[in-house]
């Protein structure tokens, strides 16, 4: 049998190439607690979270369905974060899902906080052990990464997460709000129908829940196709194929309101598409908010969609939203779909970029520190466990508490952290020289480097300074250096201090050599740094880039 002609092969290849071109920049679906990937019935590919986080415990949730059949729980640290690569300044939709499923046999679902990019997002309260909850937010990223964190807020109530999804949106979508606020989804409904609409019907994978109502009828659209190009938020056509209608022109349609009792700024989009060709020109809908007319009457177009925005106002559970036939309408009101969001507080700019830079240097130098991610200081008080921050709007890092973190290696240059007042590195195995810049930090009051393996001399910048300095039990000149294997033996009596008048006696060369690590270990260290380097870059680059804005 002859092989197919080469033009045919090329045509097939071209076709595959065209169709396989990804239409969205980011479409990440993380099945937390899982180490396998799968494709669900909506053709969404789920991946495990091993590449995003290396701590926490994964658990099987009894009889949950993918991706809710596993979760990852975090029993330590103030917060634990997933960092996901996105485009800088990109508008993204993020969804986090939680299904407790009594994984710990305690019949007691925990309550904890959900955060994004250093901002409060929601308090996760799964309230019952056999329901799942999900939270969705739309915001513009400030860097090349977005970090989603779960934070422990109550003692012994450990945060967990079941799945995490990030989707790119068209930058022109949801544009009636500035990029300094996030949209927090309250509900998103498609009228009539009985199926949830999401990817692939909605290429942005928004989830449109079917909703009917009380005393209302469902009507399917007669249009063979609906042109959605007139709506700037790209509703899926499937969400507009049905609508809900009240029983008569005298019967108004009131939204079931699930907003919080506290007054909050809102962002509502409502979609109207006429369902009957014969109704064109006969149906006209007036919206009332708290019994006052809002905008002019809405005339739903047949075969296309009219999108109505409700922005620049606040609302609460007490606010009433009513659709009623306008005075000239001979047909009752309809609605096809609606989205209701609240606006977040102003998004934080994150920790000061000078501290972000310095912390990145520390993480590159010391492998154990790369496990911390997300904004170092925000939201207050969920800072990284080994730093202390000011409570400014744009916080500074004023202390490093890295005692006993098993840090090994030489000091990096974190001189950009010029707000530091306290540095506590004692009880590690750091080595190499004590760097000059430490004495040049303008606010430094306390520097504790004791019980390490620093060598050389105390730099001149640290002498005659009003800094509380502790360098005991190191390998500095004039000190008797402990062999590495005997590091934990109680220290011997302190060496005889030499005065400035005496000439400095060089240490015997054999003692210096005893402090050196073998070259092989150095080589391994360099290799080991590759992985933490990648993670550290993921972790901190979004914040580092803030300085260039």
């Amino acid at each position: 049998m002859t092989s197919p002609p080469i033009s045919f092969v090329l045509a097939i290849a071209l076709l595959v190439l065209l169709f396989s071109k990804p239409s969205l920049t980011v479409f990440v679906s993380i099945d937390c607690g899982s180490s396998e990937s799968s494709i669900d019935k909506n053709n969404i590919r789920w991946i495990g979270d091993d590449d995003y986080i290396q701590h926490g415990e994964s658990h099987q949730v009894y009889l949950g369905s993918n991706p809710l059949s596993t979760l990852r729980v975090f029993t330590n640290r103030k917060k634990n974060c997933y960092s996901i690569r996105v485009g800088k300044g990109e508008k993204i939709l993020t969804r986090a899902s939680f299904y407790y499923g009594n994984y710990d046999d305690k019949f007691s679902p925990p309550v904890f906080d959900l955060q994004f990019d250093g901002n409060y997002w929601a308090t996760v309260n799964t309230s019952s052990y056999y329901y799942y909850v999900d939270y969705e937010a739309i915001y513009v990223t400030k860097g090349n990464f977005t970090s989603i964190c779960v934070a422990q807020t109550r003692p012994n109530q450990f945060p967990f997460i079941s799945s995490l999804e990030v989707r790119s949106l068209d930058p022109k979508m949801y544009s009636h709000v500035d990029s300094n606020h996030a949209l927090i989804l309250k509900w998103r409904y498609a009228s009539g129908g009985n199926q949830t609409i999401r990817y692939p019907d909605d290429v942005f994978d928004r989830i449109w829940t079917p909703a009917d109502g009380i005393g209302l009828s469902e009507v399917k659209s007669e249009a063979s196709g609906i042109d959605i190009s007139t709506a700037e938020d790209h509703p899926p056509e499937a969400a507009l194929e049905n609508s809900i209608v009240s029983s008569s022109t005298r019967q108004y349609m009131q939204f079931i309101n699930r907003l919080p009792t506290k007054e909050l700024p809102i962002y509502i989009t409502a979609y109207f598409s006429e369902v009957m060709k014969s109704a064109v020109g006969k149906r006209s809908i007036q919206m009332y908010i708290d019994n006052k007319p809002f905008l002019s009457p809405i005339v739903p177009p047949f075969g296309s969609v009219k999108e109505v925005y409700i922005t620049n106002m606040t609302a609460s559970a007490e606010t009433s939203f009513v659709l009623q036939a306008s005075e000239t309408s001979t047909l009752p009101p309809i609605i096809n779909a609606v989205e209701v969001y609240t606006l977040s507080d102003t998004l934080t700019a994150g920790t000061d970029s000078r501290d972000v830079e310095g912390l990145l240097q520390l993480q590159l130098a010391f492998e154990v520190l790369v496990e911390w991610s997300g904004d170092p200081c925000l939201p207050y008080p969920y800072n990284w466990d080994w730093i202390q921050c000011t409570t400014d709007v744009k916080p500074r890092v004023i202390a490093l508490y890295l005692s006993g973190y098993e840090l090994r290696g030489t000091l990096p240059d974190f001189s950009s952290m010029n707000a530091l007042e306290t540095i506590d590195f004692h009880n590690n195995t750091m080595e190499g020289p004590i760097l000059d810049f430490l004495g040049l930090l303008p606010n430094l009051k306390t520097l504790n480097l004791s019980y390490n393996r620093f060598n050389g001399t105390i730099p001149a910048s640290l002498q005659n300074k009003n800094i509380e300095l502790d360098t005991t039990n190191n390998c500095l000149s004039g000190m008797k250096c402990q062999p590495l294997s005997d590091f934990l033996i109680p220290p011997p009596p302190p060496p005889q201090p030499f005065s400035g008048d005496e000439q400095n006696i060089p240490s015997p060369p054999s003692e210096l050599h005893a402090g050196d690590e073998p070259l092989g270990a150095g080589s391994l260290k360099i290799n080991d740094l590759n992985i933490p380097f990648i993670v550290a870059m993921q972790t901190l680059l979004p914040l580092l880039f803030i300085k260039f804005l």
């Binding site: 009894y62 009889l63 009594n102 046999d105 019952s128 056999y130 509900w187 409904y189 009228s191 009985n194 829940t209 079917p210 909703a211 009917d212 109502g213 009380i214 005393g215 209302l216 809900i244 009240s246 029983s247 019967q251 108004y252 349609m253 009131q254 939204f255 079931i256 309101n257 699930r258 659709l323 609605i335 609606v338």
Partner: protein
């Protein structure tokens, strides 16, 4: 004095006595249904397990016995909102077995509560769904528990209301009028714990045989409390009173209502709240009347079991309270 009959397994989520109090059904978090029977002779004080099997995936949140006239059967409500009907049957020469004879499922909403009632002509089951709908199913053949038909579907509202959105109901409570047979039309009581105030208050529904539909004949709520989220309802057996007694629990407390037997000019039955009792801190979980309709037992979030009675002057009070053991 109280006597311990049985220690249930870890993971047990619900139990239910049959009508005569001789059999106990228990459901657990892994979907296991257990049946416990009194030993013979009846004076024995312990129960023993006669059936134990995993009957569904996911945990069982409620078990309801079918009226004994229709055999030994239970309905299990699972956490994902499916009701499955299990019947004890004897096949050939084998021992008694429990088999599933019917499953009521709805892909878009969960069953929150289900209760059986006997009408003039047939056995009925009322189910309350998480979307705020109430559905009544009817057994078409009294000898065959497999054949059920949807007889009615409505929402728990009285006034004509048009509300758009998805009602979100956390829980519901249903109680049938325990009056069996007789000449009275069957009626039941249902209330919701939801985000839609129109659905929440408990309403009495009565079957209109002439028009084959269910009519709301009473609402057990003061005007300012109609939107209060409901925890539980219980209709007391009536042994000759000229009115019905109904208990309704909300976050405001435990209310005792009198329901008149003769309709007003608008077809509604007169209602009067005769007591508002406090006791359980937090949610009331379950309420049961005794056979005479004179003593109400309640349990709730505080873990206590409380008994309530009225004195000869008609004043209701707490008669006793039981602390959970260990």
């Amino acid at each position: 004095m109280a006597k311990e009959l049985l220690t249930l397994d870890n993971g047990t989520t619900c139990t239910s006595w049959n009508y005569s109090g001789t059999r106990l059904a228990a459901g657990s978090v892994d979907g296991t249904l257990s049946i416990f029977d009194s030993r013979d002779p009846p004076s024995s004080s312990s129960l023993h397990s006669t059936f134990k099997s995993r009957v569904l995936e996911g945990n069982i949140v409620k078990i309801v016995w079918i009226p004994p006239e229709y055999g030994d059967a239970v309905a299990c409500i699972s956490a994902d909102g499916i009701v499955s009907l299990w019947e004890e049957v004897a096949e050939d020469s084998q021992s008694l077995q429990w088999k599933m004879c019917k499953s009521f499922g709805n892909s878009s909403s969960k069953v929150l509560d289900a209760q059986f009632g006997i009408s003039l002509t047939s056995l009925k089951m009322v189910a309350a769904y998480s979307d705020g709908n109430v559905r009544v199913f009817e057994l078409s053949d009294p000898l065959e528990l497999r054949n059920w038909q949807l007889q009615a579907e409505f929402q728990n509202v009285i006034e004509s209301v048009s509300s758009f959105g998805k009602a979100s109901c956390l829980s519901a409570s249903i109680s049938w009028n325990p009056q069996k047979g007789g000449s009275q039309e069957s009626s039941f009581l249902v209330g919701f714990n939801s985000n839609t105030s129109e659905l929440n208050s408990s309403k009495v529904w009565e079957f209109d045989q002439a028009h084959q539909r269910w009519l709301p004949v009473a609402e057990l709520a003061l005007p300012e409390e109609k939107g209060d989220q409901l925890y539980a309802v219980a209709w007391a057996p009536n042994i000759g009173r000229p009115y019905e007694i109904i208990a309704v629990a909300t976050h405001k407390g435990l209310a005792i209502w009198h329901l008149g037997l003769n309709p007003d000019h608008d077809g509604r039955l007169p209602v009067e709240r005769v007591a508002l009792l406090s006791g359980h801190e937090g949610m009331v979980w379950q309420m049961e009347w005794d056979m005479s309709g004179m003593t109400l037992a309640t349990t709730g979030h505080d873990g206590m079991v409380r008994l309530w009675q009225s004195n000869l002057n008609g004043v209701w009070h707490q008669q006793a309270a039981f602390e959970p053991t260990s």
